[in-house]
């Protein structure tokens, strides 16, 4: 009994550490993102620590709640958003280690948890009584519904294929880490897996409301959309939640497609150096995925209209995902 209490205590402690690291690296990557995009656009850009300054300043500022807003929902939505993003962190493998709650939930749970921050944004939009926020919330909902199908399809396709080939329980990140997809497929399957990866890379900016898929916030159209009425602490919570969500989301892609660790390759056996090396390697992988799907895309494209974005996700991405799925299936048959 004492032992289980002890291990529960350790888990809670680790959870807090993971959350702190998630917030820290989320904000750090946001800073790097802003700096690099600025350089791509020929600007100097803010210093990398700017997001930390933003958050600390926002925390000091007054939180204004509109008179017509549904007050409790307006205050609850940012907490829900941050909670959703934080719980997500506990279910995905980070820093080359298995997820903290590995075994008590699988990839399907992660897919459900991914919806919570988006739903919190929708709630925030509808509860803030501003027409801009209402339109933003509608757009957020449409985007959510559009990318959900290709997202689930690509994740399930990879898991199903791995499970089919290895016979291990398919919907666990540990299975995917033990049997990376690239080792299980032939040339046809590799093409299929690349297509599925592309679909996921395209969904990341949509999940994170970044250009070209930032219709829900759309500065020049909706002046901030869902978050237009938020300020102070409430806004800071959304700000942090979005940064945490970015890390978690990219970690999922890394866990699905690049679950490799560096320490076995370069032959570091000792536990602590290996953990450090793998942790740094994980950060590099996250950076690379973010660089391609968030930073370059943001600098190279204009914002889509909501119907165009919906079509891109619902038709183009789904078709590409289906093609990837079929190629993976063919790979199994031949």
């Amino acid at each position: 009994m004492i032992g289980s209490n002890f291990s529960l205590g350790i888990t809670i402690l680790l959870g807090i550490v993971i959350l702190a690291l998630g917030v820290f690296f989320g904000l750090l990557y946001l800073g790097i993102d802003r700096k690099l995009v600025a350089r791509m656009q020929g600007r100097i850009g803010p210093p990398i620590r700017q997001p930390f300054r933003d958050v600390s300043k926002l925390l000091m500022k007054e939180s204004i709640i509109p008179d017509d807003a549904i007050s409790w929902l307006f205050k609850f939505a940012p907490v829900l958003c941050l909670m959703g993003a934080a719980v997500l962190l506990l279910y995905v493998p980070l820093f080359g280690q298995p997820a903290l709650l590995e075994g008590s939930g699988d990839i399907i749970v992660v897919l459900y948890l991914l919806i919570i921050p988006a739903l919190a944004l929708v709630l925030a939009g509808f509860s803030s009584s501003s027409p801009f926020a209402t339109v933003g919330a509608q757009r957020e909902m449409v985007t959510l519904m559009s990318y959900e199908f290709p997202l689930v399809m690509s994740v399930v396709a990879i898991a199903w294929h791995t499970g089919h080939v290895t016979g291990a329980s398919p919907f666990l990140f540990s299975t995917l880490a033990a049997f990376p997809i690239w080792g299980q497929v032939g040339p046809v399957g590799i093409i299929g897996a690349v297509l599925l990866l592309l679909v996921l890379l395209f969904i990341i900016p949509g999940e994170l409301s970044k250009i070209p898929f930032d219709m829900a916030e759309a500065e020049t159209e909706l002046a901030g959309g869902v978050l237009v009425e938020y300020s102070g602490r409430n806004f800071a919570l959304f700000y942090v939640a979005n940064a945490v969500k970015a890390i978690a989301l990219v970690a999922i892609v890394v866990g699905l497609f690049f679950p490799y660790n560096l320490s076995p390759v370069i032959g570091i056996g000792a536990a602590i150096p290996a953990t450090i090396v793998d942790g740094i390697f994980f950060l590099v992988k996250v950076f690379l995925v973010m660089f391609v799907s968030v930073m370059v895309a943001r600098a190279a494209m204009a914002r889509f209209k909501i119907d165009q974005a919906s079509k891109i996700y619902f038709i183009s991405s789904t078709l590409v995902g289906l093609l990837g799925l079929i190629l993976l299936w063919i790979d199994l048959v031949i």
Partner: protein
């Protein structure tokens, strides 16, 4: 404007809610209000409410010590058209007072005006890219724009507010030694012109956001008397430089540019407006080049002594109009001068946006909310130049203040017509 619009659109529309764009909104660079009635994402009705930045410029201009001071004021009507307004004003006063302008001054005026067109169109291109969320292009274009700003600073001593105009000529000469610096800028723009064209006309996402958006048909453009690039993009071959051929433009053989030169057909959408403005940049480069080649020698001002000029202006009696094709369209100035009176007796300014705002409801109806920023920006609106009146005291409920004004102006037009007939 709201009441004028309501008069021809009396049918009731069912709306779910209204979105106010403005007076302060990221999509707008200057204050104006667009009240959008929307159903989901679709725009059902648009009401344009102007009058947020009235500065009483015309009144100020009529109350200066003398007309020369009004030139400085005209230069400050618009931060971007800081050549167009003084250009139109000096032409109006020269007509009223019968002042001759030496040919060399005409050429210098045209060079400066065309340089302004290049800078204004590049500025617009950047703003348009920002409106569709393409910030990389926004920064790129504004970086490119610096070259012409530098050239203008070199010629006039100032990036903006160039203070080149004087009644009867210009205040500063453009000498032979200054030509290479100007040519360098022109060559720079010619060398990057194809790249700019590639970005704006071929980029996939820009195409997705601008094709078939904010369409203004030719009939509508004619009916609403739209001017400038907005009208030309709808296929109306109208250009003050061609139609009036004032100043040195008469030597330049200018043809109004319509988008079918590149696209083969006129749609009248935002894309066509990009095409027209891009081609006009090239046209301006050619005009400046021709001006530099053919610039006649001689005086740059007919009366260099200000005191003597003021005496002439004080004696002048009569009316004059000045029409200049500003980057946004036809800029129109009217002056009346009375003998023995120091300042202008009357000064009326019509900036191109005043005419082009009429197109906004037609352009936006049936479009999505996402199209509002780019469609509105596509006329290159300039609010502080446009505002001619302000409602200082809100009318009591039930009184139709603007409608009364409309009636009054109709009455005055009829009275004037009757006077002329007599």
């Amino acid at each position: 404007m709201s009441n004028i619009k309501n008069m021809d659109d009396t049918k009731e529309v069912k709306t779910s809610y209204t979105i106010p764009i403005g007076p302060i909104h990221p999509a707008l660079k200057e204050p104006i209000r667009l009240d959008l009635s929307v159903d989901g994402e679709e725009i059902i009705d648009v009401d344009v409410v102007v009058g947020q930045v009235h500065r009483g410029m015309e009144w100020l201009g009529m109350n200066r010590n003398n007309p020369i001071q009004t030139i400085y004021l005209a230069e400050r009507i618009c931060g971007i058209c800081s050549v167009s307004h003084p250009f139109a004003l000096v032409m109006a006063v020269e007509q009223a007072a019968g002042i001759e302008v030496p040919p060399r001054a005409e050429y210098i005026r045209v060079i400066i005006a065309e340089m302004e067109r290049i800078h204004s169109h590049l500025l617009w291109a950047g703003v348009a890219a920002h409106e569709i969320g393409f910030d990389s292009v926004f920064y790129l274009v504004w970086k490119v724009r610096e070259e012409i700003m530098d050239a203008m600073e070199y010629l006039a001593g100032n990036r903006n507010s160039k203070a080149m105009f004087q009644f009867g000529g210009v205040r500063r000469d453009i000498t032979e030694e200054q030509f290479p610096r100007v040519r360098k800028s022109l060559d720079y723009y010619l060398s990057i012109f194809d790249q700019l064209g590639n970005i704006f006309l071929k980029d996939k996402t820009i195409n997705m956001r601008t094709r078939n958006v904010g369409i203004l048909k030719k009939e509508d453009a004619l009916r609403l008397t739209i001017v400038g690039p907005t009208a030309r993009a709808s296929g109306v071959s109208k250009d003050a430089r061609q139609g009036h051929a004032y100043s040195a433009y008469a030597d330049m053989d200018i043809k109004a540019i319509t988008p079918d030169v590149i696209t083969g057909k006129v749609v009248g959408d935002v894309y066509d407006r990009i095409v027209v403005r891009l081609l006009e940049i090239k046209q301006s480069i050619e005009i400046i080049d021709k001006c530099l080649k053919e610039m006649p020698s001689g005086a740059i001002i007919s009366e260099p002594k200000v005191a003597k000029l003021l005496a002439v202006l004080k004696k002048a009696e009569g009316e004059g109009i000045g029409v200049h094709e500003a980057p946004r369209g036809e800029c129109f100035h009217y002056v009346r001068m009375e003998a023995g009176m120091d300042p202008l007796a009357c000064w009326k300014v019509r900036a191109p946006t005043y005419a082009n705002l009429m197109a906004i409801p037609t352009m936006l109806k049936g479009e999505q909310i996402a199209d509002v920023p780019i469609a509105f920006a596509s006329i290159d609106p300039c609010m502080s130049c446009t505002n001619r009146a302000i409602t200082v005291k809100q009318p009591r409920k039930g009184t139709e203040c603007l409608l009364d004004l409309h009636e009054l102006s109709l009455e005055k037009t009829r009275r004037l017509e009757a006077e002329f007939d007599r």
